[in-house]
Symmetry: C2
Subunit: 348 residues, 2 copies
């Protein structure tokens, strides 16, 4: 049997290899690198092909495809969201992604994206906080201590120089897990007994809880002037974390308004509620934080361009390393018209 | 390092393993099996989640995602279409597909789909011809002798008992390739010098040419009464193969009208041009061929449900065989909330 040609081979990054790559680069360095890549792509936001995600809903969850393209590369992420999975010992969210060459249509990278999504979400939060958090912010309240909490904390440390994190979760076991995971990272970890205690002295308030329902993790009277709210968990229809009053007092920043109005905290507000697109802040077309007393709010839902940035980074980084396998995924006969002949010759 | 759990592993069928599986089952048997699976899914057409394909166009081609779901399984195909690729020694079309469990959102199969698409396209054509071709049809004109031609011929042999195929292509090398590939299959192969010669005595006229332009492979005066036209190549905007006059004299059968009116031969006709949906013929709600002199026309563009049928078949078939690899594609920590802990433990 003849060997498949080089173009027919797609590099694949397994979960195991992704973890090796993360440790090879270093978690905090990778979060810095990803922040750079995400920021680069936010700068050239306008040239991307932006489609809303393609969702297939069922009673128990959703499966989504999130495609985008910058004209040279095409990427998509497959991601599910099944809140009931946790109780069954499965991940609520699993993901994988693919990058392809627009010129040939051939895939050039297939990779796990469960870990990578956690990293890119944290990198995006930190990239945004760089523009919006009050000067000298060094303390964060982390409300919701699930799978995203350590990544958020380390990204804020790597990019903003965060010194202290104040943890709260309604499940103390989640907080204990997060505190143990952060023990040797150089971050001062404070375990708190209430959301009120967690936000004491914090300039950055990160909410990342998992309930698929309209909840009030932060109520209006809890939030004082001069903070930056990094709202991660309000990310699908019917799932919000903040009291409406907070949104009314904040300047709200979003990724892609069309998607955020459906999935984000602002689904609670009127369709013409004023928001600022982050890419316009990054390109200097709009202002970020304007004064020390302002409340800024990043209503994060996750957008395909952030996954594209992450795929682009992994593709460039992984080729220098052994942390990938070769997948024989594309049929590539010597004569493109002779697919059947290739099949027949494989018999012998 | 702990081993990933069973659910975190996705079976992957490479091109090499797909070819092994085809020969293990037998090409004609697999075409029969796929016909059965496609027909089963056409019977339950109404319960499928039918989304138009999600296309990303560039100057040189298109990359598409084709998702669908029957409520229990979710499938999608990635497929590109780059007509200029052939001249560069690459496939015009490459594809891969994925099947997932709707209940958990976890992928359960990843497979090459370039070969599988060729098989499912031919199986669909034969399934349709079973309902529409004149009784006793045993001769087919095969116009366009590219990558699909041998599969079309063998499917018509396996499902309809085709005895003779009459080949024509404007490139004699393509015809020679097709004739050589069909030499030992028990089919009587006749090499023809013109489309007119190819259709002599044929009850089934299959057109499958590759030009991305409105062409006239069959002109109106070439097509007499009592034939079935299996039009494969008119499958994207601006690409048709049949003279408009033929469509006016034919009863036209389609997969999914919304898609066929954009991509099929009927893009030449008014938006209200009458067509019959094949699933309604198969369930007995509409008539197929009504008399011997009728011209039936299957305006085939390929629909996501056919890919779903093929994915479903491969998933069931491949587990009995060694023709798959295990991909560590889904991060699956013991505690779903402890993704970071899993990453940390992988360091040691």
């Amino acid at each position: 049997m003849t060997q498949p040609s080089e173009k027919a081979i797609v590099p694949f990054v397994s979960v195991d290899n992704m973890m090796r790559l993360v440790h090879h680069v270093g978690v905090e360095q990778m979060l810095k690198d990803l922040t750079t890549y995400v920021e680069e792509d936010f700068r050239r936001w306008e040239l991307f092909d932006k489609t809303p995600r393609v969702a297939s809903h069922s009673d128990v969850g959703v499966i989504e495809l999130m495609p985008t393209s910058d004209g040279e590369a095409y990427g998509f992420k497959y991601v599910n969201g099944h809140p009931k999975n946790t109780a069954e010992g499965l991940q609520t969210v699993t993901a994988f992604g693919l990058l392809a060459d627009v010129y040939t249509g051939y895939p050039v990278l297939l990779t796990e994206m469960t870990i990578l999504t956690a990293l890119r979400t944290a990198a995006t939060s930190a990239m945004v906080a760089k523009y919006l958090a009050p000067k000298g912010a060094d303390t964060m309240a982390m409300i919701g201590n699930g799978a995203q909490s350590e990544f958020q904390t380390l990204a804020m440390k790597a990019i903003l120089g965060l010194k202290s994190v104040r943890l709260f979760d309604k499940d103390p076991a989640a907080t204990a897990k997060c505190a143990a995971n952060l023990a040797d990272t150089g971050i001062d970890v404070v375990i708190c007994k209430s959301p009120e205690e967690a936000i004491e002295g914090a300039q950055i308030l990160t909410t990342c809880t998992a309930d698929k329902q309209n909840a009030t993790i932060l109520s209006d009277n809890m939030v004082g002037a001069g903070v930056h709210i990094n709202a991660i968990g309000g990310d699908c229809p019917g799932k919000t974390e903040l009291a409406k009053g907070i949104l009314e007092r904040s300047d709200v920043f979003v990724e892609f308004p069309e998607q955020t109005r459906i999935e984000g905290e602002i689904q609670q507000m009127d369709p013409d509620f004023a928001v600022t697109e982050m890419w316009q802040v990054i390109t200097g077309q709009k202002q970020g934080r304007q004064d020390a007393r302002q409340i800024t709010l990043f209503d994060s839902v996750g957008f395909a361009i952030e996954d594209f940035s992450a795929l682009r980074y992994i593709r460039e980084k992984v080729v220098e390393t052994p942390f990938h396998e070769d997948l024989d995924m594309l049929a590539d006969p010597d004569d493109p018209r002779d697919l059947f002949g290739m099949l027949q010759r494989a018999k012998s």
